[in-house]
Amino acid sequence: MSAQKPAQPNEEIETLADALSIWVGKLSDLVHKVVDTEPIRNVINWARMYSLWPVNITTACCSAEFGAASGARHDLERFGVLPIGSLRQSDLIVIEGTITKKMAKRLRMIYDQMAVPRYVIAMGDCAISGGLFHDSYSIVNGAHEFLPVDVYVPGCPPRPEALEHGIIMLQEKIRNSKVYPQG
């Protein structure tokens, strides 16, 4: 019996396995519905928003301000943001700066390898619309061309305080979102 492909309720029930899989399918729907009610949903969202771990990748020059934001004075770790480990363990990708076509391919690969739920912050004018280099031959004008972006942080480069504001906005967005339809 496989929980991934529950038999449709209006198909002919031919074997015992089919009957069990319908029962399990209905059970997993029930679990989803229960988890998405207020108290459990708030706990899960609280855990997600205060432990956003970004992938260790720097795209271009905004990385200098991301580094300064993670540093001693504007400490991003007090928001729970800690760049650590492999990208399979991360749930946030910060597109810092200009995206060249060569890098865009790899960013998409990295995004696809991250586990759900995953969020995207587009940091800097170049990641929003191409910025200062918008007419160059080798760049992509904005991260939204190939990734679903959650928060845009404008600036060239944005101050660390602006990045912190962006992270707080993302946390508010997570607080008010449902647990399951994320992907």
């Binding site: 720097t58 020059c61 580094g67 001693a72 060249t100 200062l132 280099f133 061309e145 190939f146």
Partner: protein, 381 residues
């Protein structure tokens, strides 16, 4: 879900060669996502865990700046040419205005020259501190990541009070600089540089005289003097191999001819030498800031210069934090250059990466690679 234009058919992923089964070596692709600074890839060929051959694969941040500066006028290009090495923006800006001023025949007044040197030296310290903090990420040394970034904020505040921006100043224009010192700047700068030099003593004790660092960096990633010269290396990479070349002394520009400072070199050419050259330069820049503020002459800071690139050729060179940054500019009249060739320190040091990494263990690769201070954004432009 694709990018707006079709991706190129010849992918660099296919340049990694396939070995025959049973061969001795293994080819590994390191990057562009790895712990430490991203946006660069190395294709290393390993025999066991010794690197036989390391080929860099740059181009992840290639934004076509040389083409952009041919279509924007010389003032609007200043933010564009500052961005390659954003943490060292003032030095790149200085190379640009040097080339233009040579073509125009404009001379900056003395006070403007000293203020240029002031911002250049502050940028040198900021860039070296950023280098040191990313070194901490590569080595797995969290204190080495946090402390330099905290002390860097001392100088970022000073730069912000002088120019109005944290890291991208656009402060130097042809003919001078844009703003004068705010009141109270000199006392604040002297206090901060004196505090910073005490911090440098602590850094030496905790980070560099620590057997955890010396055992990882001494004798690792050696670049001989002859190889460094014939490969065209520059900056701390060259000075760490015993060659005492520094453009501020060899071909003095701005106010450096009247200032008193030493050029620091180390003879061994290994990662430890290059790291210590960075430390010595930070100390030297800190005392240079105090010297500049003491010797600062009075007078105007800017002479009006037209927004035009006269006919001719000029070569503007500056010693930036990572080495020599230069512009070869060809003008034909009008407000845009006909050709502006941009050669940066990291681009020249790209040639040193295969030479430094040959024979190094894979585990020592981050130590050796980052000691060259190769900043991919600056090399790709």
């Amino acid at each position: 879900m694709t990018t707006t234009e079709k991706p190129a058919t010849s992918s660099a992923l296919e340049t990694v060669t396939q070995e025959e089964p049973g061969s001795q070596t293994m080819t590994l692709s390191v990057g562009p996502q790895h712990s430490g600074s991203g946006h660069m890839r190395l294709i290393v060929e390993l025999d066991g865990d010794i690197i036989i051959n390391a080929q860099p694969d740059p181009g992840y941040v290639h934004r076509g700046i040389e083409k952009i500066i041919e279509v924007r006028n010389i003032i609007r290009s200043i933010p564009v040419i500052e961005r390659p090495s954003i943490i060292d923006a003032s030095n790149l800006n200085h190379a640009w205005v040097r080339a233009i001023e040579e073509l125009q025949g404009v001379e900056t007044p003395a006070r403007g020259q000293y203020l240029r040197c002031l911002l250049n030296e502050m940028n040198r310290i900021m860039s070296h501190l950023y280098w040191l903090s990313i070194y901490g990420v590569f080595l797995g040394h969290t204190t080495m990541f946090m402390w330099p970034l905290g002390d860097r904020e001392l100088f970022i505040d000073l730069a912000e009070s002088l120019t109005g921006a944290r890291i991208t100043y656009s402060y130097l224009v042809p003919g001078g600089v844009r703003r004068d010192l705010p009141p109270g700047f000199t006392e604040e700068a002297i206090k901060r540089t004196e505090y910073f030099e005490k911090r440098l003593d602590e850094y030496e004790n905790i980070f560099f005289e620590n057997p955890l660092f010396t055992s990882r960096a001494k004798g690792v990633g050696v670049l001989s003097k002859e190889k460094a010269i014939e490969l065209g290396c520059t900056g701390p990479t060259l000075r760490g191999s015993g060659v005492d070349v520094d453009l501020r002394k060899d071909d003095p520009y701005a106010a450096y001819g009247e200032l008193d400072f030493k050029v620091h070199t180390r003879p061994d050419g290994d990662s430890y030498s290059r790291a210590m050259v960075h430390m010595d330069e930070m100390r030297e820049s800190s005392q240079l800031i105090r010297q500049i503020l003491k010797k600062l002459p009075s007078g105007p800071i800017r002479r009006k210069a037209p927004i035009v690139v006269p006919r001719g050729e000029a070569y503007g060179r500056v010693e930036s934090a990572r080495g020599e940054c230069s512009f070869y500019m060809v003008g034909e009249g009008g407000d845009k250059p006909y050709r502006a060739r941009f050669i940066t320190g990291s681009y020249r040091n790209l040639a040193a990466i295969p030479a430094v990494l040959k024979g190094v263990r894979l585990a020592d690769m981050p130590t050796s690679w980052w000691s060259i201070d190769y900043w991919p954004v600056e090399a790709d432009r």
